[in-house]
């Protein structure tokens, strides 16, 4: 069976889509298809790869709009998944492209540096005697130690697409949660504060990162855990944190959101005042009425029970 690969090319400022045909064999990965093209058809096609066993993170590309590790995804499976003979291969999204499928990691490392990405062990530990940690405490962060820095998570990250400057890449949050949840650390707040300053609360919660992570690390889950930690460690001064707190208070008190106060509680009087036009629109459509007293949900007892159960579960 033949497959057509339409590949987004970009060489020295010129970009175009080039079509190649490859004969699909058993076990042929996207990486193998790319290699076959480079060796047999077009030596100018450029991409990076190293381990071809999904641990080094060098070969992630976008296939039909979704990030994949080229070395582990089979052409045959993709053709089945999309019910087609043609696949469109591009470089990862939300990266600068250097050439063809090769992207620039420098800005990503700069972001990684922002969270002070290394463990600062507690005073009782030393380089000579190492650290102590219970197996349970190890389990709290071990998943997040599995990040291979392939960049798949950020490729379709909607927040990064909108603006990369006030946010981090999902894998940076994964690295941060690894450090924050590590019981050997004497200063989890330091990483947490850095993450909050760098945009923790701006996540859209679209779950694209979790859907794309080839290692199943759930970066979106890591972001939620970091948000929780800001409350636990008393760092919730951020607008996002206050917003979450305001919602929590409303729900526990009345079982309903009080739209007229929510914004004020989150952003403060002054900043909320700047949102007056939106408030007027909300009033106009009947979504908010500051003159009415805030109603209490008749099911408030049940709602409180739900909240309590959820809190118990989380502990």
């Amino acid at each position: 069976m033949d497959a057509t690969l339409r590949i987004q090319r970009f060489v020295e400022g010129k970009s175009w889509v080039q079509e190649y045909t490859v004969a699909v064999t058993v076990g042929m990965t996207i990486l193998e298809a790319l290699t076959t093209i480079k060796e047999k058809q077009d030596p100018t096609l450029s991409f990076t790869c190293s381990c071809r066993s999904s641990i080094c993170g060098a070969c992630a590309v976008r296939v039909n709009g979704n990030a994949e590790l080229a070395c582990e995804i089979l052409v045959e499976n993709l053709l089945k998944r999309y019910d087609t003979n043609t696949l469109f291969i591009e470089p990862l999204g939300n990266f600068r492209v250097i050439r063809d499928l090769i992207v620039d990691w420098d800005p990503k490392y700069a972001k990684l540096k922002k969270i002070k990405p290394v463990l600062q062990p507690k005073a009782e530990f030393s380089a000579e005697t190492g650290c102590k940690q219970s197996p349970e405490d190890f389990n709290k962060y071990k998943k997040y130690a599995g990040c291979i820095l392939c960049g798949s998570c950020v490729s379709e990250c909607n927040k990064n697409t909108l603006n990369q400057d006030d946010f981090l890449d999902p894998f940076v949050f994964v690295k941060a949660e690894k450090l924050v949840a590590d019981s050997r650390s004497r200063s989890p707040e330091e990483h947490l504060q850095a993450v909050q300053d760098a945009g923790l609360w701006r996540c859209f919660n679209c779950q694209e990162c979790t859907a794309k992570c080839p290692k199943g690390l759930d970066p979106a889950g890591a972001i939620e855990k970091l948000k929780e930690a800001t409350f636990r460690m008393g760092l919730s001064q951020d607008v996002g944190g206050k917003h979450a707190k305001a919602i929590y208070d409303d729900i526990s008190e009345s079982g309903m959101l009080d739209e007229s106060k929510l914004n004020i509680k989150s952003e403060g009087f002054f900043m909320a005042g700047l949102r007056l036009p939106m408030a007027l629109r909300l009033m106009n459509t009947g979504k908010m009425n500051p003159l009415e007293s805030h109603p209490v949900n008749p099911e408030i007892a049940t709602i409180r029970k739900v909240v309590q159960t959820a809190e118990k579960e989380a502990k």
Binding site: T48, S50, A58, G93, R99, A127, G130, P135, T161, D182
Partner: protein, 613 residues
């Protein structure tokens, strides 16, 4: 048709626009893969490490402890893409936390015996004394060790070890190590010179000028002046191309650069073959396959290991099983043709739940790459090159120094010798840490005591020479000759069949002749890409040149060693010969010729005995 645009569609559109904008601005944007002073040639590093695997980054961190020194790590990819990430088992080191009975002596003896007595025993003693210390250091650096009840890291027992002494993170011990080191490097603000293909170490007589490299992004040749260079570029498994478990980047670049300035390639013939690589592509099926009871079956449906290891059968050591499989295939009892021929690994009698529980990755790899579900079908495997025991001679294991002043070596590209003729599981990551650390300290001490004595003009000339070479090579017409992959495939056929699991005199002599012919063809091969931006075709051309030189050295070493020992198996000399060959092979490149010398093995406590398991 709906006129509404969904949020997703809108965002995808915006992304496309963003990509287009990014593309447009690329040429005004200044890459930071290389520190600015390096681009302009106005920096002299005290310590310049080539290679960003475990050894390279450990060395850089050790050297950077002296804040007065300028330290950089150069890599042809970006950091964290190295072969070290692929190591699964763990790192050996005696700490006694899991097994208080373990001793440094035991680690030394296991290593020496495993290495079939080709190890330098004074170096092994140094190694074993320091290995435990490095495990604790990594803990303090944030390595995510699996833990035991008392809170210490847990250590497990690996093949050939008498005690549990390998600390680990799940089955990704190397990956965790590389990332811990990289994060520490970021914290320490170590300079990375990323995406630079090292081409040459430039010398002026016996004075080190620095390193010539191609900045992949711009195609510019950069000459990086340095007082000391640490070569930490990894192994050379890619001489067997798809018949290796190594990454594409393991092409022996540093070994060739080192040989070209007079460092001998020590014991190049010592290559470790792992018995169970997928026949399709060389990817490793873990040792645990055999440990869990998988059987080896030849093309005639016969369980054949009884012929080669009557008692241990499939559970014999890696080298014995690899030789058994290779013999079956060579004698026509394999399945399939050519380099993809193999024998079957049969899991079908193993309960499904046990496969799910313990062999999940093996099942996954078999299904993915061979299209086979091991619960119901047999999977085709054959030996795969796993590790290079040989490498650039380390002249002083207490400093990591080579015999060329200012040039240090560490990791798989080096030969200490700790592993001798055969490496034990989980000794490679410890070697990387111990000697990475040592070489970093050694280079730092040297840099502190010496001024830069190199010649920057000579360095610039070397860059110009490579620039000319780039232009000449990349502009060759298609009619010039064979392509790079064609020559590579021919090289692999020679190496796999004539200098692979088994060797013998006639075939090795043929191999040497074939390699010489390929080296001639290489001189006018076709590369096919003229671009200066990220020219991976040119990079692969450079790597092939290195692989050819490494191959030639392996063959020379294999011809010189007329005995069988560890990973080196001669059909015509099937026994170990301690009278004549208890010594290292040193291959020099002198005036384009390969010259062989020998050096005695250092023996302190353990006289050679027959190696039995």
């Amino acid at each position: 048709m709906s006129t509404e645009i969904s949020r997703r569609t809108f965002i995808k559109g915006a992304t496309a626009a963003g990509v287009a904008l990014a593309a447009g601005t690329y040429f005004t944007w200044n890459g930071h893969n290389i520190p600015e002073p390096v681009k302009h040639g106005d920096v002299t590093y005290d310590v310049l490490v080539i290679g960003s695997g475990g050894a390279g980054m450990r060395a850089a961190l050790a050297a950077a402890e002296n804040k007065d020194l300028k330290v950089a790590v150069m890599t042809k990819l970006v950091p964290t893409r190295s072969a070290s990430t692929m190591a699964q088992g763990g790192m050996n080191g005696v700490t006694g936390v899991t097994d208080p009975q373990d001793t440094v002596e035991s680690h030394v003896f296991d290593t020496v015996k495993g290495g079939d007595y080709l190890c330098d025993q004074d170096a092994v003693e140094y190694f074993a004394e320091h290995a435990g210390k490095n495990i604790y250091e990594m803990d303090y650096m944030g390595y995510p060790y699996n833990r035991q009840e008392d809170g210490s890291f847990h250590q497990r027992k690996m093949g050939g070890s008498s005690h549990p002494r390998a600390a680990y993170f799940e089955d990704r011990a190397g990956h965790a190590m590389v990332h811990a080191l990289f994060e520490k490097c970021l914290e320490q603000n170590i300079d990375f010179i990323s995406e630079c293909q090292m081409l040459e170490i430039s010398m002026d007589g016996d004075k080190l000028n620095g390193v010539v490299a191609m900045d992949m992004r711009s195609g510019n040749l950069v000459g990086v002046a340095a007082k000391t260079v640490i070569i930490a570029t990894g192994g050379y498994g890619r001489v067997y191309w798809i018949r290796t478990s190594n990454p594409y980047s393991s092409t022996g670049d540093g070994i060739v650069a080192g040989m070209n300035i007079g460092i001998p390639f020590k014991d190049p013939e010592m290559v470790q073959f792992h018995p169970t690589g997928l026949a399709a592509n060389g990817v490793l099926l873990s040792e645990s396959s055999r440990a869990e009871g998988a059987l080896l079956i030849n093309g005639q449906g016969e369980r054949f290991m009884g012929k080669y290891a009557p008692e241990k059968l499939e559970l014999a050591t890696r080298d014995i099983v690899a030789r058994g499989i290779a013999t079956e295939i060579a004698e026509g009892r394999g399945v399939g043709e050519g380099i993809h021929a193999g024998v079957y690994l049969d899991f079908r009698h193993i309960p499904g739940e046990r496969i799910d529980e313990r062999l999940g990755q093996v099942r996954d790899l078999s299904r993915r790459f061979a299209g086979v579900d091991i619960k119901t079908e047999m999977v085709l495997i054959s030996p795969t090159c796993h590790y290079s025991m040989g490498g650039l001679e380390m002249a002083d294991f207490r400093t990591g120094a080579s015999r060329v002043p200012g040039v240090f070596v560490a990791g798989e590209c080096s030969c200490v010798s700790v592993h001798g003729a055969n490496r034990l599981g989980a000794n490679s990551l410890s070697e990387v840490l111990v000697f990475g650390h040592t070489a970093g300290d050694g280079a730092a001490a040297y840099a502190k005591d010496h001024a830069y004595e190199g010649n920057q003009e000579k360095l610039a000339q070397a860059c110009a020479k490579w620039q000319d070479k780039f232009n000449e090579v990349t502009n060759r017409p298609k009619s010039a000759g064979k392509t790079v992959p064609e020559i590579r495939d021919a090289m692999v056929n020679t190496m796999w069949y004539k200098a692979g699991v088994f060797r013998e005199e006639n075939q090795l002599q043929e191999a040497a002749m074939e390699l010489s012919a390929l080296e001639k063809e290489y001189e006018h091969c076709y590369v096919g890409d003229k671009s200066h931006v990220y020219n991976t075709a040119f990079e692969q051309y450079v790597e092939l040149g290195n692989l050819l030189q490494v191959s030639h050295s392996i063959v020379q070493g294999a011809i010189a060693r007329k005995e069988s020992r560890g990973g080196h198996s001669r059909r015509d000399y099937p026994k170990r010969d301690d009278v004549n060959f208890l010594k290292h092979t040193l291959i020099f490149k002198k005036d384009g010729q390969y010259v062989t010398e020998y050096k005695d093995v250092v023996i302190t406590k353990y006289q050679p005995q027959e190696r039995k398991y």
